[in-house]
Symmetry: C2
Subunit: 284 residues, 2 copies
């Protein structure tokens, strides 16, 4: 039996829509062993069928390895599901890693190969990349259809707090609310903001971060799907030296600040939903 | 008399519209001295009036310094004008630096202050930034209306060749050809391409550069204003391990490659205009 730990992640990060991601030390643990037939335990029953993403990722990896075989897996989940924290990416990456470690022998796939399989199973690379490489990742689909990932370290000056509500949002719905076209001015701002977001996260430049974390591509549309968004964003950004971003497609909100104790200070007195407030550490 | 050297620059760089810029060792030299009234020599007569940008930049800087005074300047120009190589940004930065060095005394303005004055005179920061800081620059207008610049080094593995045609394009016209709206897919590609352009230029990763240098924001529209664009881009990118980008708003074309002798190899047999082919070195 082997133990595989795959972290929670936040994709998008304001102006880095479908591209940026960061990795946390918060993770799911997957206990896996070789077996003749598939068995998935420790999670919601609807995720235990053959069509579930762990098995799909496992089988795609087995195909790449040129091997046949199956597995038993037991999930120990701490990443909340459907909250914009990459729980599905974690399961997919675990499925790939499980096949690679159990059946890869002396010819194991490398991280880049695992990343390409996982991104294909997930359909987009922005959560699986930080789940595999750690730190801050920038991803793109290349002209040959393969995926690229550049990895950077996140400044230790920055501290991350996640606000997790007691409701879910559907990724599908959150894709549908986006417009088909964007204004030129917004596109131009997005170019500099996205590049400088990577800069600010690496250098820990809070002044820059506050100036360029404004997004024009997804947050103005998706915020409508997140109860309490306007109240929380205003309250936190007004009272603290911090920025509030949507984690992935939401509904969780990510607060970035230089104050390591911010999670203890945030008081949300006027929300409709219940919000869990939790400090997160970056897995570099 | 003091000598001020301000370099040629290329803005935009594919997916970095209105944001990225690089600096070359090719530069204009401005010989300046204190004087009671303005005199500009060594350039086209139409640029010698009070409304010219050297004088405007000079006077704005004098105002910031709280000083009064004028100058004589003699231009030794090697940056070709109206070719997308930042000749106007060079003149503006020179005007600021001249005032600062001649009249700043012990309370000279720093680079960031000069940058903000120059960006205001030019109307946009993407050429004046590399002219002042050197290397590769990323600029943005912040919420308080000031300009930010982050600077990076360009990989020494990359070599730059400029193709300068015997015709000019107007910056105004090249702004007008841009659409007012962009498709969501193009915006999403632009986000990752612009971030990874900065990565590829820093690391010298030619494979990545070729994959992400495609622009969706300005090049597809501005190329129509540049005779021979399609022929040159195809010929060079097909025959050499290189990418071809529009320098600024054109008409010059920038070729980036790992081959330091590329400028000697490029053969353009089928062009309508005459193109000068010139190697350029990065001023870091």
């Amino acid at each position: 039996m082997i133990k595989i730990k795959i972290p929670a992640t936040s994709a998008n990060l304001g102006p880095g829509f479908d591209c940026l991601g960061i990795s946390y030390t918060l993770c799911n643990v997957y206990k896996v062993k070789k077996a003749k037939s598939m068995l998935i335990e420790g999670c919601n029953k609807k995720y235990t069928t053959k069509s579930n993403v762990f098995n799909r990722a496992f089988q795609k990896t087995m195909k790449m390895l040129g091997k046949k075989g199956s597995f038993h897996v037991y999930y120990e989940e701490t990443i909340p599901a459907s909250r914009g924290l990459g729980s599905s990416a974690s399961v997919i990456v675990a499925g790939c890693m499980a096949a690679n470690r159990l059946y890869g022998g002396l010819r194991k796939l490398n991280k880049d190969e695992i990343f390409n399989i996982a991104a294909n199973v997930e359909g987009h690379p922005d959560n699986v990349a930080p789940a595999i490489y750690g730190g801050l990742t920038v991803t793109a689909k290349l002209t040959d259809k393969s995926y690229h990932c550049s990895k950077y370290r996140v400044s230790h000056k920055l501290h991350f707090t996640i606000l997790i509500p007691d409701f879910k949002t559907s990724t599908e719905k959150s894709r549908k609310v986006l417009p088909n076209k964007y204004k030129k001015e917004d596109v131009i701002s997005t170019i500099s903001h996205s590049i400088l977001m990577v800069d600010a996260l690496q250098t820990g430049n809070m002044k820059l971060l506050k100036n360029i974390s404004k997004d024009y591509v997804h947050e103005p549309y998706r915020k409508k799907l997140i109860r309490d968004y306007d109240y929380i964003k205003k309250t936190i950004e007004k009272n603290y030296d911090a920025v509030v971003l949507i984690s992935g497609s939401g509904p969780s909100l990510l607060v970035i600040s230089k104050d390591r104790h911010l999670h203890k200070k945030i008081k949300l007195t006027n929300t409709k939903a219940n919000w869990e407030i939790k400090p997160l550490k970056i897995k570099q």
